[in-house]
Every structure is written in structure tokens, then in C-alpha cells.
């Protein structure tokens, strides 16, 4: 018995406990679930301290090479404000920190989303219908462009989906369904891969510790 074997057993028993959920909720699952939640919460606390707060804040404010950078007090104070939520009287200070988080996030995603999810996609859709040359390319290109335009019509909210709009929206949602089906089908494989990975662990790492070699 060494640490490696103990590790394999811990992993295998916890995995099997979680798999038992597929049959129904049971004490093994409850145990593993509660342990998982607790351990991972603890992990992220340590992780945040060691990987963000120490290197990106503390070591900037008090560099190991000496000196003191007062500017870094500000994010520290805003961070502490976040914790003021625990003290009802002071909890409204946490809004200042929240405002910074939300504002930065909003500004950053506004440009990033517009660039990558909107403009780049529009740019990619501006193609010649004849691109590719063959009749089949024509068909594909027409489906592509109509699909994007009709899909967008489906997302119109301020006009009722009637008449031409309704027709286009209908084409749009139909196409979205095809896309969702495809996406689902494509994914199935990935999900199975994960199960394969875990099964390999149980079959080829865990069983051998009991002398069972497949």
C-alpha cells in the first residue's frame, strides 16, 4: 500500500459514489456531493489567495524587492468593501466595488461582443453567392445567407411575426432547429469521450490494484 494506490482508491470510490446517483439519490452520493462542494470551495479560496491576491495585489503593493506602492491600496480597499456586506450597517459600501466589477465587465464585453460575435460574423456572411463556382455552392451559399437573415428576423421582438415577417421568422426558427440538432449530435461524441476517460481510469488504473488485469 503506498500513496499512489491510496490516491487511486480515493478517486475510484468517490467516482463510484457519484455514479450511484444515476440509480437514485443515496447516502453515498450525498456524502461525495457534500465533500465535493466543501473541498472545491476550499480549493478556490486557496487558489484565489495564492494566484491572484498574493501575486497581483500584495506583491504589487509591497514588492519583494522592497518599497511600497500606495496606489494598490485602492483596489485593496474596494475589495474589503466587498466584504462589508457581512456587516449590515456598512453593507452599502459594497456597491462601490460591485459598480467597478459591473462597469469593467460591461465595457469590456460591449466591444468584444460587437467585434467578435456581431461584426466578424456579418463580415463572414458578406460573400458572393457564386463563391465556389458549382451549382451546389450556389445552393449552399443561398441557404447560408438566407439562414442568417431569417434567423435574425426570428429575433425581432417589436413586430408581430405575421405575413412576410412571420414566414421569414419561420424559416429562421426551422434553421435554428437544424443547427441545434447538428450541435447536439456533434456533442454526443465528446460526452462519451469523457465517460471513456473515466472508465479507462476505473478499468486500467483501479482494477489492477486488486489484481484484476483486463
Amino acid at each position: 500500500m503506498n500513496w499512489e494506490v491510496i490516491g487511486i482508491w480515493l478517486g475510484a470510490l468517490l467516482s463510484l459514489s457519484l455514479y450511484s446517483f444515476l440509480y437514485k439519490d443515496n447516502p453515498f452520493y450525498k456524502f461525495a456531493e457534500h465533500l465535493f462542494v466543501g473541498m472545491s470551495a476550499g480549493y478556490w479560496v486557496i487558489y484565489t489567495i495564492m494566484n491572484v491576491l498574493v501575486p497581483n495585489w500584495w506583491q504589487n503593493m509591497v514588492p519583494p524587492s522592497g518599497g511600497f506602492q500606495p496606489i494598490w491600496i485602492i483596489p485593496g480597499v474596494l475589495g474589503l468593501f466587498m466584504l462589508f456586506r457581512l456587516i449590515p450597517k456598512l453593507s452599502s459600501y459594497s456597491r462601490l466595488s460591485l459598480a467597478l466589477i459591473v462597469g469593467t465587465g460591461a465595457g469590456l464585453s460591449m466591444t468584444a461582443m460587437l467585434q467578435t460575435n456581431a461584426l466578424a460574423q456579418v463580415h463572414g456572411t458578406i460573400i458572393s453567392l457564386g463563391a465556389g463556382g458549382g451549382w451546389f455552392d450556389w445552393v449552399s451559399n443561398i441557404i447560408m445567407v438566407t439562414g442568417v437573415v431569417c434567423g435574425l428576423v426570428y429575433f425581432f421582438f417589436s413586430k408581430p411575426h405575421e405575413g412576410v415577417m412571420g414566414g421569414a421568422a419561420n424559416i429562421g426558427i426551422t434553421l435554428l432547429m437544424v443547427a441545434f440538432g447538428a450541435s447536439f449530435g456533434y456533442t454526443v461524441m465528446a460526452r462519451i469521450s469523457l465517460l471513456i476517460g473515466q472508465t479507462q481510469f476505473l478499468l486500467f488504473d483501479w482494477l489492477p490494484t486488486m489484481g484484476i488485469n483486463l
Binding site: Q121, I192, I196
Partner: protein, 285 residues
Amino acid sequence: MAKFIEKLGTVDRRVIFLLMALAVILPLAFRMNLPIPIEEGPSKDLYDAIEALPPGSRVLLSFDYDPSTMPELQPMAVALAQHLMTKDIKIVSMALWPMGVSLGNEALTMVGDSLGREEYVDWVNLGYKTGGGVLIVRMGSNIQTVFPNDYDGNPIADMPVMEGVNKLGDFDMIISLSAGDPGIPAWVMMAGDRFNIPIGGGCTAVSAPQFYPYLGTGQMVGLLGGLKGAADYETMVRLEEDDAAPGTATPGMAAQSVAHLVIMLFIIIGNIAYLSTRQKKGGLR
């Protein structure tokens, strides 16, 4: 018989779970093997893009995943490292996910040792820093300020592999093995779109469809999707290099195929059952 079919349509989902488990366990336990044909597609595109790089080029390999997606992404890491190192391309690796560092190291050391490539000369692992997209943007202006040291704490400034690499723009290609956020989208948005560096990638099969738009617009040069992509790449690398170490993706594909068939069988059974009930009810919806 008809009643039996109807019953199948409402079968307890635990029966499905059991059959799925068997579909994966049996082929693995009995080591079933199926051949893999290579077709044109995003996997081949990535392979060709790397083939086109001259020896001595520099590629940034980012390990943006953790052990939960290892079955799919780790074989890619190994196959890519194998391809890049055989072609004498320098690899600078890093991770946007904390756990990616050790996984990447595992792959690079293993392949590097088998091909006689040296750490710090032919490859280096810069390690992990938090920040995702922000981090990438900062690397765009200067890598050293973001990663003064590699994962082991050695200053990168004097490493031969980092010679002439000061910012992202100095790389000939960036490849992200990505399990989610931050990952490929961050690289495409913050590095590819901003600094015009070709971006390649590998991802779980689930996220692959969402990156197809990037392939269509040329924002990405190629993509490995899931175990299939990994198995494709393994096969392509092995066609070139007979003595390359056998990969782990190929055996898994057999279990994959059987499990797929089982799911498809379920869908067919479900529909037969559904249609027969519907007919009985007089074709009502």
C-alpha cells in the same frame, strides 16, 4: 409485440444508463479496434497549416484545460507536440487554466524526451497566470512583463527558445487547446483579431460547432474537435512518423463508435414506439 414496442417508448431511463455503461465498458475491456479514415476538414487544415511552417518557426501552445477534459485534449497535446517537435518548430507553452500547466508539461516532457528535444532550447513552459483575455492583450505588448519567469521560476529572458520572442506578434502561430472559458474565443478575439496571428486550436467535441464560424471567416486556421479530432491528428502524425509513440485517442474511438450506435438505436426505437402509439390514437399529434 405492439405493446412491447409501446413500452419501449417509455422505458425507465436507468435502462438506458445501464446499456450506455455496457456500450463503453465492453469495447474497452475487450480492446476492440476500428480503423480511422482521414478526410479533408478542420483537422487536416490544422495539420497542413503546421506542415507549412518552416523549421525554426515559433509556436505558442496554450493549455487551456484541466483534467476533466483530459480524455479529449491530452491526446491532442501529445500529437501536436510530436508534430511540432519533429518539424523542429520551437514551442513556447503556457496555460490560461491553472491545471493546464502540469498537463502541458507532462505532454511536452514526454514527447521532448522521446525525440531528444531540450527544455529551454526547443521548448519552454511559461506556466499559468490568471486574467484570460486581459492577460492575452497584455502579452500582445510584452510577454516578459506578464511572464518574467517560466513555471519553475527560471527567468525567461536568457532562454534560447525565447530569443526574438518579445510579444505575441513574434509567434508564427498560436494553438489553444481549449476546454471552455478562457480559451479559443479569447485567443481569437484578443490575439488573432488584434495582432493578426494565425490561430489554431483543439477543443472538446461539444464546443467545436461554436468555433465553426471562426473557421469560416478565417479567424482560425484549423481545429481539432474532440476525440475524433485527436484520433485524426494522431493518425496523420503517425502516417508521417512510423516510430511515433502510439496515441491514446485511437483505442477510445472504438468504444465511442459502439456507444454512438447504442444512442442512435435508442433514437430509432423511441421513434418506432412513438409512431406506433400515434397511429393507435388515430394520427393525432
